[in-house]
């Protein structure tokens, strides 16, 4: 689903979710769902970051 996202887009989405999680009034039900979304975005960002770093290092060689 997130394949089209750039790293920065994914990251700002992630940050948005983190802010929502930080909100005290969040309901537990919603929290579980947000955490799941956040985890998915984190995984996406990690993969993306690794790929980008690999590419950049290749170019710099």
């Amino acid at each position: 689903m997130e394949n089209e996202l750039t790293y920065n887009e994914a990251l700002s989405k992630l940050e948005e979710i983190v802010e929502q999680i930080e909100d005290d009034s969040i309901m537990l039900d919603t929290l579980t769902e947000k955490v799941a979304q956040a985890n998915e975005l984190i995984k996406y960002c990690e993969t993306k970051l690794r790929t980008i770093e690999g590419d950049v290092r290749d170019v710099l060689k």
Binding site: Y7, I21, M27, L28, D29, T32, V35, A38
Partner: protein
């Protein structure tokens, strides 16, 4: 046959010449005289250290006075000194001030022996000519030559050297020291830079040299996009005859030339006018060195940028990873499952999370969700916390 001569008293030629010799000796013996004269028919005998020449004076094109002259070994040293001091070949057409002795020889006749040259006179004259040329360059080329204080600013000198120099047009004398030194220095550069040198060889000494050099410049200008810089070099061996480089036309062409010109004319005392119009280096080797250093500077800049880039990339990725790690930790800590693992439990009634216990009556059925299991139970008692 009648011998007429017998009747007239006569003396032998040798006796007569002796009398002339005596007269001249009586009038001039032991004296020397300073004269200013033009020289011609200069015929040097370097192996013997003699020099035959004529001293002449002209009115327009007509020679109005002329006498044979000679330098013997003691005077010959002055020719060498003259050439060293004035950087001019001692040759026909020069005007000099010299000290002479009147000599007379029975067979070779009257001659002036030159015993000293006043090269200060020639130097002064050359300097005056040079100043005149410089003033004319400034006056007649206001767009290309400016004098500020004692510095000459020219269009050519204002052209920036290319960031990387690779294509060089070399003006030099064929098979000369300057040519060899310049090329050796480039080829042996320790960084392995490649240079492409096109040689424009020409005579660079003598009366027509400035025309030849100018011709080469025009040839280069016709294909100017092929070159990054021009180097004009000559070897440091001979210090003589730099006159070509003080020529007005050549200096003017150099000052307004569209490709940066570097000179290594190889002389340490006088700076020629061409030097003043271009980027002057002392020797051909130094010109080559400037070009090598120019490229070295570029390479250093590139390497530095590469290092900065690499550092920036490192920082960027480290920060991004740390940031992500931080978020990950927070999200993990916020995960209800993580909380349950610590011994907390979620209370649900009919699968809806209960946040307000006042809605639950004694006897109601509730579900308590732990980390791994959910327990169903019945409320038996209610009590406010802390009471």
């Amino acid at each position: 046959m009648k011998l007429i001569n017998k009747s007239i008293p006569s003396i032998r030629l040798s006796e007569f010449i002796s009398e002339i010799e005596d007269c001249i000796a009586a009038a001039f013996y032991g004296d020397t005289f300073w004269i200013t004269t033009e020289i011609s028919d200069v015929n040097k005998k370097p192996d013997k250290r003699w020099c035959y020449l004529k001293l002449i004076e002209k009115e327009g094109k007509n020679v109005t006075a002329e006498i044979g002259a000679v330098f013997w070994t003691p005077g010959y040293a002055y020719i060498e000194k003259f050439e060293k001091e004035t950087k001019q070949l001692f040759k026909d057409g020069l005007e000099i001030t010299c000290r002479v002795k009147v000599t007379f020889h029975k067979r070779w006749g009257l001659k002036l022996e030159v015993v000293e040259i006043d090269y200060a006179y020639t130097l002064g004259k050359l300097e005056a000519e040079r100043q005149e040329t410089l003033e004319r360059l400034v006056k007649e080329n206001p767009d290309h030559v400016k004098l500020v204080g004692e510095q000459y600013y020219t269009y050519n000198k204002s052209l920036p050297l290319p960031t990387v120099v690779q294509r060089i047009a070399l003006i030099t004398a064929p098979e000369s020291d300057g040519q060899r030194d310049f090329k050796q220095e480039l080829i042996n550069n320790p960084y392995g830079y490649a240079f492409h040198v096109d040689e424009f060889v020409t005579q660079i000494q003598g009366d027509k040299a400035h025309e030849f050099i100018l011709g080469k410049l025009l040839l280069i200008e016709a294909q100017k996009e092929k070159y990054d810089v021009i180097a004009i070099v000559r070897g440091g061996g001979s210090q003589l005859d730099l006159k070509a480089f003080d020529n007005y036309d050549l200096a003017q062409a150099v000052a307004s030339f569209p490709i940066p010109i570097l000179t290594g004319i190889g002389h340490d005392r006088n700076t020629s006018i061409v030097d003043l119009m271009a980027r002057q280096e002392k020797t051909p080797t130094k010109v080559a060195n400037v070009l090598i250093q120019r490229n070295f500077q570029f390479e250093q800049n590139v390497l530095e940028l590469k290092e900065r880039l690499s550092d920036t990339v490192d920082t960027l990725f480290t920060n991004a990873k740390n940031n992500l790690k931080e978020i990950k930790r927070f999200v993990k800590a916020s995960n209800p499952l993580t909380i349950l693992k610590k011994g907390f439990a979620i209370v649900k009634q009919n699968n809806v999370i209960v946040t307000n216990p006042s809605t639950i009556e004694v006897g109601a059925e509730i579900q308590i969700q732990f980390d791994k299991e959910t327990i169903s139970s019945t409320v038996t008692k209610k009590k406010k916390n802390g009471k």
